[in-house]
C-alpha cells in the first residue's frame, strides 16, 4: 500500500464485516460498516471533512479562522482534528453530561469547550451555538444539522462504498443523529435499487436528555426535512439504553468493540432480522468503544450501567 500524504486522506473507505453470527435468523445476514476506523475515530470524520472543505472552497474559511459548533462529541472531535491540521481554532458547545473521554479528545485536538447544561441535552447545546454564532458573525458556523455537505459526504462516500462492497443489500439501518448518514447514503442506495429499505434508529434517550422544559424544544434537523426524510425513511425504531448496552456487549463476540449508539443500531438490526423472511442488512458502527470505557458499559453490572446511562449522553 502506498503511503498516504495526510492522515485526513484516511477518512472514508471503511471496511464492512459480516456479523451474522449474531443474527437470530439464518436467512438474514447482518453486515457492519466499521466507521470507528476513521482517523478521528468516528463516522463524523466524513461530514466534518466535507463541511470544512466546502467552506474552504467558498471562501468562508481562511487561515486562522475561528469556528463554532455544537456537538455531543463525535462531530466536535472530528472537526477539532481537521482544524488542528489545517490551522483553524474551534469552539465546541458541549453538554456537560457527555463521557469524560469525549471532553479529553476535544482537548487533545486543541478545541475550546463551551459547556452547556446537561439537562438541555444536544438540543440545548445547539440553541446556544446558534445564539453565539449570531452574536459573533466573524465566527464560522458550519451547523452540522443543516449543512448539506454533511449528507453529501455520505451520498458520495458511505453510500457508494456500501454499494461497491455489498450490492446485495436489502436494508440499510443507521442512527438518526443529524440524519446525514441516512439521508446521504440512504438516498444513494435507493437510487441504485429502489427496493432497498432505509430504517432509522432513534438514539437511546436517557431520562436527563428528555428533561426538556417544553415539548416544542424538540428538534428535527433541517437536513432531515430538506432531504424529504419523512418520505425517504421506511421505518424508525427507538432502542432503550439497556438493549443498547446489551448489544454493545454482544458485538464483542464477533470482535467488534463499538460505542453504545452502535449497540442500539445492532439491537434494531436484530429486531429487523426477526421480522424479515430473508435479507442482507447493512448497519453502521458509528465509533469504537474507546470513548465509553469510563461508563463501565462492558464490565459493570448491567443494572448499574443502565441507571448511569440515564444521565449520560452517549450518541
Amino acid at each position: 500500500m502506498a503511503a498516504f500524504e495526510s492522515a485526513l486522506d484516511l477518512i472514508g473507505n471503511t471496511p464492512i464485516v459480516d456479523v451474522s453470527a449474531l443474527s437470530p435468523n439464518p436467512r438474514v445476514r447482518i453486515l457492519a460498516k466499521l466507521e470507528g476506523q476513521n482517523p478521528g475515530g468516528s463516522v463524523k470524520d466524513r461530514a466534518a471533512k466535507y463541511m470544512i472543505e466546502e467552506a474552504e472552497k467558498d471562501g468562508r474559511l481562511r487561515p486562522g479562522s475561528v469556528l463554532i459548533e455544537s456537538s455531543s462529541g463525535n462531530t466536535g472531535i472530528a472537526l477539532a482534528m481537521i482544524c488542528k491540521v489545517r490551522g483553524y481554532h474551534l469552539k465546541v458547545v458541549l453538554p456537560e453530561n457527555v463521557s469524560i473521554e469525549r471532553r479529553q479528545l476535544l482537548l487533545v485536538w486543541g478545541a475550546e469547550i463551551i459547556p452547556s447544561p446537561g439537562g438541555e441535552g444536544s438540543n440545548g447545546a445547539m440553541r446556544r451555538a446558534i445564539d453565539l454564532a449570531e452574536e459573533h458573525p466573524e465566527w464560522v458556523f458550519l451547523h452540522q444539522y443543516s449543512n448539506q455537505a454533511n449528507a453529501k459526504a455520505h451520498y458520495e462516500g458511505t453510500g457508494p462504498e456500501i454499494w461497491r462492497d455489498c450490492p446485495e443489500i436489502t436494508h440499510f439501518i443507521a442512527g438518526l443523529g443529524t440524519s446525514g448518514t441516512l439521508m446521504g447514503a440512504g438516498r444513494f442506495l435507493k437510487e441504485q435499487n429502489a427496493a432497498v429499505q432505509v430504517w432509522a434508529v432513534e438514539p437511546p434517550v436517557g431520562e436527563m436528555v428528555d428533561g426538556l422544559k417544553n415539548l416544542d424544544e424538540g428538534y428535527i434537523p433541517e437536513l432531515f426535512t430538506a432531504n424529504d426524510g419523512f418520505d425517504l425513511l421506511d421505518r424508525k425504531m427507538i432502542v432503550r439504553p439497556r438493549e443498547s448496552i446489551e448489544w454493545t456487549r454482544r458485538l464483542t463476540e464477533v470482535g467488534v468493540f463499538a460505542g453504545i449508539s452502535s449497540g442500539a443500531i445492532m439491537a434494531a438490526a436484530v429486531k429487523a432480522a426477526k421480522l424479515l423472511d430473508e435479507g442482507t442488512l447493512v448497519t453502521i458502527v458509528c465509533d469504537g468503544g474507546w470513548k465509553y470505557l469510563s461508563t463501565g458499559a462492558w464490565t459493570d453490572d448491567l443494572d448499574d450501567v443502565e441507571a448511569r446511562a440515564k444521565g449520560i449522553i452517549y450518541f
Binding site: 444536544s122 444539522y145 432513534e202 428533561g211 417544553n214 424538540g218 428535527i220 424508525k236
Partner: protein, 90 residues
Amino acid sequence: MPAVRLPTVLRTHAGGAAVVEAQGETVADVLAWLEVTYPGMASQLLAPGGAAHRFVNVYVDDDDVRYLDGLATKVGEGAEVSILPAVAGG
C-alpha cells in the same frame, strides 16, 4: 390496556407518573383518552389539523407511528405507547 410512557415534561399532568395505563384501540384513541383524563396533556402533542407535532415522536412498541399508520396505528392490549420529544445527536 396499553401502557403509555410519558416524557418528563408531561408527567406533571399525571401527578408525576412516568407510565400510565390508558385505553383505546388506536394511537388517536389513546391520545384522546389522555386528554380527557389529564386535561391539557394531549393537546400539546397535536398540531392544528390533528396530526402529531413534528417535534414529537410517538412510538408503539418502539416503532415510530409516522412510518406505520400514523395516529390510526393500532394499539394492542399489551402494547406500550411512548411519547418523546425529537432529540438531535451528533
